[in-house]
Amino acid sequence: MSTLAAATTSTGEAVQFWILGTVAVLGALCTILMRRAVHSALCLAGTMIILAVFYLANGAYFLGIVQIVVYTGAIMMLFLFVVMLIGVSAADSLKETIKGQRWLAALCGIGFGVLLIAGIGNASLTEFSGLTRANSGGNVEGLATLIFTKYVFAFEITGALLITAAVGAMVLTHRERTERAKTQRELSEQRIRDGVHLPPLPAPGVYARHNAVDIAGLLPDGSPSELTVNKTLRARGQIRDVSSEALNDLKALEQRSTERLERPTSEEASK
């Protein structure tokens, strides 16, 4: 506790800062450099957990716990839900719409960082008062006293904001059905009128070893039929094609059985 009020921290905190700080920066860099949104979200969650540890080290015990519970527990999971909804495999395209935008953006970022860090370096922050006195009655109690006295109006406004946000999210994502859903009879009548594909779609998988849903069924000539695979898998490009593999397997099997039975091959028999 006493080390919270000093110009230098304890060696333990320094070691913790340099190790975890490096990991936090790496996590942040991975967040902006990973191509898939899921990987970005996981890297960001790691960075947030490390920030929670830093809050605890700085004497903000309540905030450290809230950071883990609210940020990594609720907000990042919300992000992951949305990533799953929108499509996990959707990676960013690397094509630039504005020429040289990426380099200019990186340059702006570096310049901004240098500006910020130089500003902090210029401000002579040498002596830290420390939280020993402020935290003497307990961190949570101190925060509660401030929230319910000095900041009580802001606290009330926050409640209104949260309710507005919840209602807003419902309004934005809720869709009222404006037309009646078609019945099965109407759907089948429409299919016959259009004359596109009357019978049910064929099932995926032909061979017993490969009856998974992501493997297209084979047409009589051995080519895969895209119709047999679910529309979602088709859109994601997750169809596995085994037609050549299966045909090769079959050929090898025939070869082996011929050798074992010492039967003449079909060409010799026809002679």
Binding site: F17, I32, F54, Q67, V70, Q101, C108
Partner: protein, 99 residues
């Protein structure tokens, strides 16, 4: 180690987040970078709270978290409804008002 290093770390994380907002085009990742910037600000607030020896900085960081939670809820709802109408979460595709 001087505790001011926490401020340097916060500045670094903030500029990384800002760069991410400029570079990335997936709306969700842009949003995550905004969250990273908010978190960096929170770290700075907590460090300043220790610098001044009172808890006001922590209160501000607490309010930032609440506002960030509300912002995430509304922002993700907007992204989901955008994705429903145009089947893409890329911020480049939302250019309906462009001349």
């Amino acid at each position: 180690m001087n505790p001011v290093n926490y401020l340097y770390l916060a500045a670094l994380l903030f500029s990384i987040g800002a760069t991410g907002v400029l570079i990335r085009r997936n709306a969700i990742v842009v949003f995550m970078c905004v969250e990273l910037m908010l978190n960096a600000c929170n770290l700075a607030f907590v460090a300043f709270s220790r610098l001044h020896g009172n808890l006001d900085g922590q209160i501000i960081a607490f309010f930032t978290m609440v506002v960030a939670a509300a912002e995430v809820v509304v922002g993700l709802a907007i992204i989901v409804s955008l994705f429903r109408s145009r089947h893409s979460a890329s911020v480049d595709d939302a250019s309906l008002m462009k001349l």
